[in-house]
Amino acid sequence: MNIIVCIKQVPAKDAPLTIAGNWIKESDIGFEMNEPDSFALEEALRLKEKHGGEVIALSMGPERVKQTIKEALAKGADRGIHIADDNFAQLDPLGSARALAATIQKEKADLVLTGLQSDDHGFGQTGVLLAALLNLPHATIIMAIDVTGGKMNLKRELEAGWFQHIECPLPGVLSIQSGINKVRYATLKGIMTAKKKDLATVTRESLGVKSEPSQKIEKIYVPTKTKKTEFLTGTPKEVATKLVEKLKFEARVI
């Protein structure tokens, strides 16, 4: 079973964000693998361990993205593909999906996996768009995958504690719900082996993908507050005493 996992590199969770026009200043912050995608990668590795085949880690973005692909290789992906694009952050979801789809089309994949959404843009559309562009069946927010007889039996999460079982043929596209599995760490041996693994680079131009954007981020800003927050200050003990008083006599909730 050959699986392509789409992985995004995003600013590290605790990175201090400085807004610069319609994006953030990228120069002084660290980047990491988008957490929801790490669950998709783990699921791909588990499926490979069970059914054999190959796992390809696919990522798009500037040069630094290679680091995240290497992390995927260290965890067990067999090879990597980097779509080099310095302007990636400004692409709309359809634009990125077109480049990813063009790359995936050149591979013989049985299954394409994505995470639920990215921790930066948070569009949460890539998997569904890939299914549309590749003309493959899809399902999203997947909590369990069981492959038997050329098709997948899936557990899909719905809202408010509901789930649904779905049958989906192969090849197909799935977006994976975070928390589906426990993500592995890269071993030292994995890190060493990763260095010998193939990491190909392509560009949108070489793929022949030109994208008319369908949307544009005009600007990014700190959200305006909707509620007036009363901040309590002092030592932890003082803060605790003040808070209990407020809750008792002002908010009257305890």
Binding site: D119, G124, E159, K219, Y221, V222, L232, A251
Partner: protein
């Protein structure tokens, strides 16, 4: 502006975010001298179409087909792309539900368009609509606009608009138009099976008046007893944001947010929770919200009544002690 609202039902029951989206549509229509068509899709949903017709809309489109009885992304996309191609709306609005996430981007792509999903508001800038959505897990907001020709596709997050502002039809009832779609079984590639809930949970957080909720800031499972001690001193229930339950540190039934429980307690004490929208939609109805977080810029403070910028590991024991002291006097 011609606006089409795709309302969502499952097994004949509305997803209430549909009505919030209808409110958004009514506001946009008022600002742009537009008209609204509301659409319901499924099988045996004529009664729901009548309900929509009682709202202030120009018309209701009723899309029914045997193959639309259960939701499938293929079925919905094939059917709705036909409806949109003939109805030619400028703006197609959806409630941002799990179902919409599952098909709407594909529907837009089939028509060669993009979608601005998960919006929390919009602005009308001299006739140009700018949509507001969160980025970076709620740490920033972003204004996003459409480029290119209509139709444009957008979805609104649950709670972005108040459904109680929905206005009724001025003269009683809008016309309901049945729209036939051409749909074949082989076009539907996935097979939806049964809907189910996991083992019934022992705790019903929706009924808890006082909730202590923990997020990533709790750092390790060993620290959870500190939060539980605080919950006990308060006489409340312990709950968590999604990552905590994903890690298995607390059972899934204690998860608050879009994929977990939606609660509206008297008091919601958020400890080390940053306040990503997926969590906030599950608790912003709380009467009083207290947030403790080391990051003064955490989005949770936007909705907090009382805020403490500080270390939860210092505040939790101090607060537990203060609550116990308050009880004893």
């Amino acid at each position: 502006m011609k606006i089409l609202v795709i309302a969502e039902q499952r097994q004949g029951k509305w997803n209430n975010t549909s009505f919030e989206t209808l409110v958004a549509a009514q506001q946009i229509a008022a600002a742009t001298s537009g008209t609204i068509s509301a659409l319901v899709i499924g099988k045996g949903v004529a009664g729901l179409a009548d309900e929509l017709a009682a709202k202030n809309v120009a018309e209701v489109l009723l899309v029914e087909h045997d193959l639309l009885e259960a939701y499938t992304p293929d079925g919905y996309c094939v059917a709705l792309s036909q409806v949109i191609s003939s109805a030619k709306p400028d703006l197609v609005l959806f409630p941002h539900t799990y179902q919409v996430r599952d098909f709407a981007p594909k529907l837009a792509a089939m028509l060669g368009k993009g979608m601005i999903g998960d919006c929390i508001g919009y602005r009308n800038e001299g006739g140009k609509l700018v949509f507001v959505r969160q980025m970076f897990q709620g740490k920033t907001a972003a204004d996003v606009s459409f480029v290119g020709a209509a139709p444009w596709f957008a979805s609104f997050q649950s709670g972005a608009f108040r459904s109680d502002l929905l206005s009724a039809h001025p003269s009683g009832k809008a016309p309901v138009t049945k729209v036939t779609v051409d749909l074949k079984p082989e076009q539907i590639r996935t097979k939806p099976l049964e809907l189910f809930k996991e083992a019934k949970s022992a705790v019903d957080l929706t009924q808890a008046p006082l909730i202590v909720a923990i997020g990533r800031g709790i750092k390790a499972p060993e620290n959870i007893p500190q939060a539980e001690a605080l919950a006990k001193a308060l006489g409340g229930e312990i709950a968590a944001s999604r990552p905590i339950c994903d890690e298995g540190w607390l059972p899934m039934e204690r998860q608050i947010g879009s994929s977990g429980q939606t609660v509206a307690p008297k008091l919601y004490l958020a400890l080390g929770i940053s306040g990503a929208i997926q969590h906030v939609v599950g608790m912003k109805g709380a009467r009083t919200i207290v947030a403790v977080n080391k990051d003064a810029n955490a989005p949770i403070f936007e909705i907090a009544d009382y805020g403490v910028v500080g270390d939860i590991f210092e505040i939790m024991p101090a607060l537990t002690e203060a609550l116990e002291k308050a009880k004893s006097v």
